[in-house]
Symmetry: D3
Subunit: 309 residues, 6 copies
């Protein structure tokens, strides 16, 4: 098992026009951690996702889709007392997407330490995000338990800060995420998210994290990504692309980054792969639907209008 | 104002195939009381619907759609602290529809007496259903408050028992609905629902209700409807049709029945109109989308294959 | 050239749901005469259709579609001063279709004698319907001119009475259609349409037409068709099918009947083929889209659930 | 009542591909004046639209849609003798849209003074466009009558010149629009349209209009808008956006401008709001479907790829 | 492992209208053996499918879909030298479906003994059909090899005769299928298919098979199924349903039958479950999409118009 | 007859999303030669296409579509022993299209000299491409036979090199295409394709071709096109457009170029028309669907956001 991750995966509804005008929805699944698991599986790594879904059709959709993508869902629990969460997307303007959650009281938000602390996997990496702790106390405890499991099995811990302002305040997020970051090996954040972990410029915050035992801090925005390690700082510019749907870019980036780690790539090559997988995410519709197989990685960078015939 | 009604109206999602296979959804609104209000408005009556919706796009969809159908939504309250409820339909087999609610904690289920007790309308009829009291204590109180308002303004009270087994037990329903029925002028029920109000055959239960002050008890199934009044019992068979989508049949029936009441039709004619509007509901997709305008009532009964050219 | 026909062909819009709710439309073409021409072409006969279309995209759609079906459209005139007509269909109930015309002032309704009187074809049959004369005086004259052309070239004349109550009154129809029928060789009508040509039972009206020189009178309803000729009367029951879309049934019937005539079938076999082609029309969506090729005629009558594998 | 407007609203059909290839249509409504009324209603103003529709389903679509958007349609007249007009759009190239009208003889084009001269509203602004007078003499008279009503009720008059070359010549337009402009308080035009009202550069034409009693002349193109008033000239550049569908841009601009007037904004702020609402129109599909609610105005200008979560 | 099966699975294209008119396609997968595997997996059994697919997207679709349904595809081979086969369905008439194969030279038809003879599974049942041997010599040998493997691992062999007239003649089929049937434990056939195995009435052919060592012969048509065993003959009538799409009925029947075998049901109960699963197949679109989970088996037989709320 | 061409035309399936995720397909036809024939027909020239199709529905789709576009298909042969070929397109990234052929053993690839050597047409130009010879020996011979026919009827020969790396190697292509080019009057190629015909810069290769008897060599890429003739070299830049779908650009270019030749335009004007028709191809979906009629040629170059009203 290369990577184990846990969190909430929801039924994702994408409006085909304005919701208020009665436009319909296409259906998929979404969840930062499950997106990363799919991205890794498509690149040929083995990945498991743990979490709770309802016994409703949406829950079957979640596990069916992850299973289809080769993600190990044997540890998923079905909770007959709560519905699977729903996330709705409406592209209000070409560059502005409105997101609504129907996840309060969802099965996924009932994740608890018992769901993860005895998982039978021996992963090389455990990946968590800052979304799960925002879903409630039992979720917060579950993430802590998962990191404990990682330590006990000598797995590295990867943390994507992933701040969601609709779920909690910056203060609450900072309080919960600081200890998680301190205990992680790899911390991935936007500049704005990194600021949850301290004051000062990114390089100062990163330096403090490295001092505290973190192996690598990755800070990225749409234009470039920077890796801070004990060996120094490396910056790699992103591919210049015309985004089709920017949702999922961060999860694609993380999948590419972790894939690079697993393949033993150096910091620059890891960031390049992260950018490439992120570019696939923004050049295709959906959070994860367009993520690349390994044999597709070199499609980014083909001449314009290329027909593979 | 002919009819005032209140309850929960939700965004309705109809799966275009199996949800678990990732089929999309078409969107509309649903709610027993709002369905009846639309049915009445289409028949030329004036109707208002009261209730709560969220400040989300789904809430705008609800009020926009009711407004489009000419239903007075000036009394609708927007609740910024809870989402608009969602109901999902999946036609599992031609004759079997699976229904899932995402209405726990919804704005609509926060309806409370304050929302209805000072409504400015002077309706001839106030219509309530047995669904609203099943949504929680404040909803139950709101229905009671609405019936009080009806009495104080000399409006007749119409009650559709509408038992929903997924929302509460038969015992709980019986306890809450019995006093409502006792205070109503018109009680509409399936035989199974009527049994919530007492033991024995339908005619005995109806007789007891009439004795207690109810003006008319209507009992209907797919085949026929029967009106019990002090003037006697009348039975009218339903139209023999090949259903396309049986959801909404009951609400259409009620809209036709109340329309007959408002037009001063006699009991048989009322039931005939009820059957006709119900037939429109089952012959078209959606809860209310196919309900007839007044000038369309006679389309039921045209020769097969009729082209109106 | 086996058959020449003329009339108005329109862009046909079929609503995918209630028009008033903003449902979209699928697009095709429609026109009784062009439907017959397509039906004949599919069965392997040569057919030409004459008429006027606008220079708009809808006009191109009409000629493009007829050309696709192998109908000769070399005689079609493009009229830059009027739009191509539009017909809208809304299936209001499974058995009731609402039809609206936007054909007032259309290019097609400007058909005039000059459009048809010098056509270069040498058809075996000229087919006209009672719809064209209803579109205006110049159309009426055009039909008369076409029948004159038929006579002058020794073509048989086939007339489908096709009464459209929305276009004219029974009185106006009767006055215009009587002389057309009197001059035709084959008159096809429903019992109700036949009554435009005289009083009394169908057999009396048919007898008078035969006396006046008509070769064959065909009277059909959904259940059976009857042929009246000097050789006697023959009745053939229709296929018992469960209609999907009854629009176009009559035109399919006529195409099958004329195909039988062209193939030299006897009266009973002609009616059988007419019923078969009509059955294809009602078992498929659209006026003409499902009409059979010759090698498909025997698909009617296969065992239920047949898979051609 | 903030704004009263009148004109023709049609069923709008948008081809999903080339019409001649048989592509289908999505359905909505269109009309410059009704678009403005919707835009105002969405921004929280009260607006009424007057006009004629047929008694057909398309007519119900028009009033249903306007009612859904909160536009007062109580003054709309249904004309049983003519169909509701239809406008078809085909996007021939990304930047080129083909428009076809089926509005000759439409109910909407039968608007007459009697339809508007006794309207019960007390609007602050009456808004008219140069399209309505192009539809025929009775329409021209109706616009004149509406301006008279405005004067008699102390409402300001807003005129969007809106020249439609397919409906009349520049000469005819100039003759009809000059007196309307002279009597208006606010005249809105493109440079090309302004030239209908006189020769010379825009500033000269504007100066002459101001001299004649017009309060403000607004001249706009895709790049900027300029306001000429007695207080001087102000120029505000448009938002730089990548248009999705430029149809409806002008009506959005007018709705924003009138909204600014009603809110008492100064000239620059009015033009800014006009540009913002116009930007919503071009960044979304449809004439009016994407127009903003008041709480959405600041979505223009968010960072790229913003997800409102 | 409960059941192991092997054969060809193809990309299935279902035309949404007449192919010749340019109607589009929906996409799924199809294959008699993979349909059975899905049906078993949905009922809670473990099933593996072996076969070859191309390295093209269609091949990924096949394995992704089977994986999504929980079928073990670890033994599937990807063949980079041939495309995944395609099957096209066009519903020509409500009761007549046209099927076209693009499977000549497909990866699936290159199945060979080496693909199956060393499979690591220990199945209780090995299921094969009469389709695979029709695809070519190497396929025929592969089926033989698979039956040998079954014997060597003490698995029962189930054979669905499944004659496809488009793939081979009755004579060729009879020659190839007779030895397979003789070596099977359970033989399933229509009366017409059973006649491939001998002359005389079904009971005689069945008796000879039982004499030769077959444990059970099941003969079914749309109306009933009959089980012949040493213990006697049992007949169970099919559910009376109104078919939506009869393709896949046989595979559903087999899945239900094998499920009954695995659950240790008696012959009558096995046939009842077979009929029930078959009824799901014909009451839903697609070959396998509507097959039931175990908790859905009792949906067949609910009262008409049942809403599970 | 202006132009005669021959080759393989296939059913074209365009995935509406990722094929592996089960996205559906839209349907059309494709084939370099038939695309050119359609382009010419739309511009008002007469064109015939020769080739083989199956007797399946896809074959009817091919001839029906070409017939609809006015292309003469009277010489098309139906081959009952092989299926019509299929080409699938999946837009993997906005700029990268994946193409898969199901054309091995197709009817179209069985084209042979006998299919073309006695065609009854008297074309001014015979157009062939480098795709057909790549399909097999009989196809190669058929192209040779067609060029012989051209010579014998004094038609000019136009050759579009059109190298398809998936069908053959550069070496095989070079060997087969060199003699074809040497015998052609007009050779059209990309720089890369031209290099199949010799070494050195394009101008050297072109010079050698002109020396050998070729009248004109046209070399084009996305930015510009260059014509080499005995009269000198002319370069015309392409329209600067934002491509929607680059497939079909080359065929549109050729259609425009041949149209210019037929109209007697000079070299620069020919290239301009070629670029214009090519621009239509890349600005619209599909290979040929958006190609212009003659009255549409000037739509390229209209101001942005033009509405033709």
């Amino acid at each position: 098992m290369d990577v184990l991750t846990a969190g909430e995966a929801m039924m994702a509804l994408r409006a085909t026009g304005p919701i208020r005008l009665g436009s319909g929805f296409t259906t998929s699944i979404a969840g930062a951690e499950s997106n990363v698991a799919i991205g890794l599986s498509r690149l040929g790594h083995t990945a498991a996702w743990a979490g709770r879904v309802g016994t409703d059709e949406a829950g079957h959709l979640v596990t069916r889709t992850l299973g289809a993508e080769g993600v190990d869902v044997s540890a998923v629990r079905r909770d007959g007392t709560a519905p699977t969460g729903v996330i709705m997307f409406e592209q209000r303007l070409p560059d502005v997407t409105r997101v609504q959650y129907l996840r309060a009281g969802s099965a996924g938000s009932r994740l608890c330490p018992d769901d993860v602390e005895a998982l039978p996997f021996e992963p090389r990496i455990v990946h968590v995000t800052g979304i799960t702790p925002a879903l409630g106390a039992s979720c917060r405890d579950a993430v802590t338990a998962l990191c404990r499991l990682a330590r006990s099995r000598n797995a590295q811990i990867s943390l994507d800060l992933n701040h969601r302002p609709r779920l909690w305040t910056r203060e609450a997020a900072a309080e919960a995420l600081a200890p998680l970051a301190a205990g992680a090996d790899h911390v991935i954040a936007s500049p704005d998210e990194l600021a949850l972990l301290g004051s000062g410029p990114p390089e100062s915050i990163a330096a403090r994290l490295l001092d505290g035992g973190v192996t690598e801090v990755v800070v990225k925005n749409g234009d470039e990504a920077r890796s801070y390690t004990a060996d120094g700082t490396r910056t790699v510019p992103a591919h210049r692309v015309n985004p089709v749907d920017s949702i999922g870019a961060g999860d694609g980036f993380v999948a590419g980054y972790l894939s690079g780690l697993l393949d033993g790539l150096d910091a620059e090559a890891r960031l390049r792969r992260a950018h490439t997988v992120g570019a696939f995410a923004v050049l295709t519709r959906g959070d994860w639907e367009g993520l690349p197989r390994r044999d597709e990685l070199d499609l980014i960078g083909l001449p314009e209008g290329a027909a593979l015939r």
